[in-house]
Symmetry: C2
Subunit: 343 residues, 2 copies
């Protein structure tokens, strides 16, 4: 983020400070988290959001809560298992959360195997969480470099939701490509889809791009097709919440429609994500669980019925390339994804 804003950070006492993303862009308010319940709530209420960032936040939150347990003398292997399960249960679609929590859990298990006690565990978990964060920063940078190469000078990039500095520990995923292209002097501009119901595009993407000097215009989600028909969009780049072994991508509701529209207009459609977003366990996107969010998000009259899925699945066939920290994967994605994950 810019120098004066920290999306996530450690507190001096080992707690975690989060920029409350539900309050943006009106207010820059921080929320301090020191327990598993507080972190679970921050994740559920989307105070912290973005697939890579919730992974980092959950890992840091586990370390912070473990420190509190250690002070009380109640940090046990069982506590770590329960706390990890509790956090992993939030936000079922994004796989980064489970991936990061699992890393912390495995680290704790290894510690108990070796040391036989909790002494030194907090330092180990804090180190693991910091490592997850540091790796994400590096992956964002690598994604940015790889993605920028796909952005011709003078391009207008359409994006959906927020896959930027507010969604990761670093530069972002989709927006990392934009930031790097911008720094390369490529005269790139962004069309940010509002992204109903929670307006992450209008609130967050617009805010962080403007703050970083990248020209950005917001449109309602329904206007993307008309802009494509007018030739006003050169490429589409989005983030991802989970990528199946065949390259099918779960991402914010509306992404699939944009992919269909991009294909119909001959516009390249790319997805950007770090390795932590891939889920080799799932053969295809129809196996990805889709989180249903409460009707209250949609601001309808009391009693009105809604369907409010947080995500949709874009089939691999509609994706022209998956921008990763190890370069751009080209379809068909099965083999390159296996290589990426070292399987």
């Amino acid at each position: 983020m810019t120098a004066d804003v920290r999306v996530i950070d450690w507190l001096p006492d080992g707690g975690v400070r989060l920029l409350d993303q539900t309050r943006l862009p009106a207010e820059e308010v921080y929320v301090d988290v020191r327990t598993v319940e507080e972190m679970a709530e921050a994740i559920q209420q989307l105070k912290v959001r973005g697939a890579p960032l919730i992974g980092i936040a959950a890992a840091m939150g586990l370390a912070a809560a473990a420190a509190r347990e250690a002070e009380r003398g109640s940090l046990t292997r069982e506590w770590v298992e329960i706390a990890a399960s509790r956090l992993a249960a939030e936000r079922p679609t994004a796989v980064n959360l489970r991936w990061a929590v699992e890393r912390v859990r495995v680290r704790a298990a290894a510690h108990f195997e070796r040391a036989g006690a909790a002494a030194g565990l907090v330092a180990a978990l804090t180190e693991e969480a910091q490592r997850i964060w540091d790796e994400d920063v590096a992956m964002c940078r690598a994604i940015g470099e790889a993605g920028a190469a796909l952005i011709p000078p003078g391009s207008t990039v359409l994006t959906h939701c927020n896959a930027g500095m507010l969604a990761t520990g670093g530069l972002g995923t989709a927006l990392a490509a934009v930031y790097v292209a911008h720094r390369q002097g490529k005269d790139v501009q962004v069309v940010s889809c509002e992204t109903r119901p929670l307006r992450q595009g209008a609130r967050l993407t617009t805010w962080e791009l403007a703050r970083n000097g990248v020209p950005v215009r917001t449109v309602v989600d329904g206007a993307a097709a008309a802009l494509m028909a007018q030739g006003a969009i050169d490429l589409v780049v989005t983030g991802a919440d989970r990528i199946a072994a065949n390259g099918d991508v779960a991402n914010k509701i509306g992404t699939y429609g944009l992919a269909v529209l991009a294909e119909a207009h001959g516009i390249p459609f790319y997805v950007a994500a770090p390795r932590s977003t891939f889920d080799a366990e799932l053969a295809s996107g129809d196996l990805i669980p889709i989180e249903q969010r409460p009707a209250s998000e949609m601001e309808v009259a009391a009693g009105a019925e809604v369907v409010n899925p947080a995500f949709d699945v874009t089939p691999a066939e509609l994706i022209n390339g998956i921008i990763t920290d190890r370069g751009v994967l080209a379809p068909p994605y099965g083999e390159p994804i296996r290589e990426l994950l070292g399987r």
Copy 2:
């Protein structure tokens, strides 16, 4: 509308009472209009909206304002011309407004030609406005009958914006087909796209369908594609703000995207509109002026740039049929539209 709600009506003193649609569904508030400026403002602020209804409202408003001028002894042919131009200048995309205002203007011109004075003009204009309304009621009913035949029993109809009782003087256009199918016991249900930025789908379509006992669920605009992919949508029916001579349709922003998505999923896409929505003067949709609305509608941070077109154009090739008060037109639309308009 249901017995207790009148979308538009005459006041005892010759003024016009409008249901303020900006306040729905929270409040049923009426606004009384007696001058051209008041009606122009109500139209501009979308207190009254829907292509057919703004035509009716403008005609009634002209008659109401003419009555006031007549009381003052200042009702002249020039006044009618200026007042008609003033009203016709609001909302450039919907052609019904200009069509209705022109009918009133021509009626006034004929009166002055014949009578040479304003005496009796108010009655003539009131009669003309009432006739426009009555014809719309009849056209809505005919559209409903024709459209219902396209809705198989047990269907889920996806619609966008509001093309119902709140958009016309009668049953609606797209929703007329739903209402008639519902009354025929066809077990029809509706998915209502929210329709950002002003949420006419979530606020108005949902409200009137629920009030009339038709099952309806609201989705964000970005969720339509996922529902189509799941096989949850059987057909799409929308209204229209202007239809060019070749069958290209201007309608609420987002309609074009839905048409592309419907085609990609093999789902029939229909447009419903009365004759007053056709504009034989325009050869194709690219000639239809598209109204740009203020950034304030999009609720972005101060200074944020937006693109906020109120409408988009769906090319005739994507439309499986145009439901009119004289039956369903089949593509190619050039000849059937010429026949419909008696040219």
